[in-house]
């Protein structure tokens, strides 16, 4: 089996072959999702905890469905209403849950490196469902899956990641994945929302949206966290839309054969206009469906690794 990790911390750590391996696995699970009975008995032996220290709808439900469709036992944890409010540390919380014989952890946390911390503290396999600004590997995998469905491959595709690159884990995981698979990545956003040292990624970047969109096959529009305005990164949402919003007019700059992606949740009328989000070239809901298949593939792959060990 050509997957060499016990955990999924991020796409930065994976090889192109390992990413393609997961995408291929996901293809099989994607077919299962089209059946009447969307459930397989594969992981009946596995107990998984979904530890969500940050609010999430899509990712949490997607993981839960993926786990249930593989027949794993699932327990959900969210920060509110837990002992975290009583000051329990992350290590203690995780160890207490694992003491109830849980085999694998899916974690969403505001701290960069929280998945690595949990793995170090427990030795249990950890799937990163988003660690601060760092990585959100399963989101990027579902984005890659969606792109491959449409274009068949990645070589030479121009993929624009548009918006708050600086604070985006979705952007980072996409950059690592797309680069490894041979796409041409262009980052675009206001200079205050590009990373301070954007050269570190080894991809192109620009503040000029027209230049970025010209001839692109894929635009991945990032959600603008509304608090960025209060923190002084941008003057107003109005100005953001004027200069970096994806509008029907700007869409004309793209390659005629293109797709529009967005990780959700949408701020309609800020980073993406409502008519753009709802048009036929937008694959936002397909991304969500593919997300379940991709997460099944990740869970299945790491469960196999765990069994081998």
């Amino acid at each position: 089996m050509s997957f060499g990790h016990k955990n999924l911390f991020g796409l930065k750590d994976l090889s192109a072959d390992e990413i393609l391996y997961l995408l291929d696995e996901a293809k099989a699970f994607r077919q299962i999702l089209e059946r009447d009975i969307k459930k397989v008995p594969t992981l009946r032996w596995l107990a998984v905890v979904n530890l969500f220290y940050e609010p999430s709808t899509r990712t949490r439900i997607s993981f839960e469905l993926a786990e249930k469709r593989l027949s794993a036992e699932v327990v959900n944890f969210s920060k509110s209403g837990s002992s975290v409010a009583k000051g329990e540390s992350l290590r203690d919380t995780v160890n207490n849950i694992l003491a109830m014989k849980v085999d694998m952890v899916v974690v969403r946390h505001s701290s960069v490196g929280a998945p690595q911390f949990i793995h170090r503290a427990t030795g249990v396999p950890v799937i990163n469902a988003g660690d601060g600004t760092n990585e959100h590997p399963t989101q990027a995998l579902l984005d890659l899956y969606t792109i491959r469905e449409k274009f068949g491959q990645f070589n030479g595709l121009k993929v624009v990641i548009l918006g708050d690159i600086r604070h985006s884990r979705v952007a980072r995981s996409n950059i690592w994945g797309l680069k490894k698979l041979g796409a041409k990545v262009v980052l675009c956003g206001p200079k205050t929302l590009l990373p301070p040292n954007p050269d570190v990624f080894g991809v192109e970047y620009t503040t000029d949206i027209e230049e970025a969109l010209a001839g692109a096959q894929v635009v991945n529009v990032l959600r603008l966290q509304l608090e960025r305005q209060q923190s002084g990164f941008i003057p107003s949402l109005r100005e953001y839309r004027m200069f970096w919003g994806l509008t029907a007019e700007r869409k004309k700059l793209l390659d005629p054969d293109h797709i529009i992606m967005h990780p959700g949740p949408l701020n309609r009328g800020v980073e993406i206009d409502p008519d753009v989000a709802d048009d036929t070239d937008a694959v936002i809901l397909e991304q969500v469906t593919n997300g379940v298949a991709v997460r099944m593939a990740v869970l299945y792959t790491l469960a196999q690794k765990l069994r081998e060990a």
Binding site: R91, S111, V112, G113, G132, T133, N134, P195, P196
Partner: protein
Amino acid sequence: MKVNKGMKMPIYLLKGGHIVDPANGVNRVGDILIRDDYIEAIDPQEIPEGAEIIDVSGKYVFPGLVDMHTHAREPGQEYKEDIESASLAAVAGGFTTIVTMANTNPPIDTADRITFIYDRSLTAHCRVYPVGAVSKGLEGEQLAELADMAQAGAVAFSDDGNTIADSELMRNALAYADQLDLPILVHEIDPTLAAGGQIHEGRVASLTGMRGIPAAAETAVIARDIDLLRLAGGRLHIQHITTAGAVELIRRAKEEGLPITCEVTPHHLTLTEEDVLESDFDPNFKMMPPLRTEEDIFALRESLRDGTIDAIATDHAPHALHEKDNPFDQTPFGVIGLETALSVVWTELVAKGIISAEDLVRLMAVNPAKILDLPAGTLSVGSYADITVFDPDARWKVDPKDFRSKSQNSPFIGRELTGRVAMTIVGGEIVFRK
């Protein structure tokens, strides 16, 4: 320092060690005779009857090291460290004098609290001198009673941990301390540029999205304070500099003749932001100011040699295990350093030919004593017998179990080091022996 009341102290002869005493221009093999708490002779003609002869051949004999930047955490956070445990760590690391910072709880911002530190230093195995706060409550608003604290024995003033953001307060602090002939020690990080920052604003911050602390957060405040020094007079000492830009500013200020000095920590001389990434965000690599880049390390090392940097200080900042045992951004800033500083500097700088043993003694003993006007940093006849015996050939691995500090938050855990303290003598008494 513990006082040895009424006990008759043995007479020691440290025999055959390589004495490095830049204050007296000594750098050769020789013998040191210690009587009571002072150095009686170098290369004595006769050995007094009853003297205990300690063979230190093959080892270096340094004036006891002086750490001008220790957080002993007492009063208020004795679970992290206290004056006694800090002193145990100090002497194990070859330090015979430590200078404690004022950011305790409550802060050391009045004369009676200075006296408290001196009282508590009776539990210590080394000499302990307190720094008083610049501002009341370390709040950066009103001057603390600097003259009263000076009279009680404060050796300098510092709001370390906080930057004095108010320029007018900084100006007045310099002027007021000038009349007391004491330096202001400053922690230079612009609080708005550093807000929320976890690591250096460089490659790793961009790679991970972690909020960075730009080099400009340091240089902007240093540039301001050099201007204020020119305006107000006084003496300014910049703590824990980390950037090539800071070195350049201080070099120019020194060329101009301004009374400015600075220090650097062993970790900022040897580690970079990349260590944060390579360690998978181990909080033992988190401190303020943050680990910078190779280029910064290069500039810092260069200026150790040319005298731009005056001192190496530890910024020993203990935090309990449970406080550092969390994801990176949820942990406090700071690392311990007393027990590793000398060996790290030896391994990474002296053994690699970047500085000499004499430079090391100047940076870690002579200059800190001079900046703070402390009775230390020399092996002159008649001076306190505060002595560090160092075995340059000992090889050891940093193991947290061996730490005498109450805390274990060291970025050097697991490192193989060359050279180790063999013996530490404070006031004629052997307080540590390996």
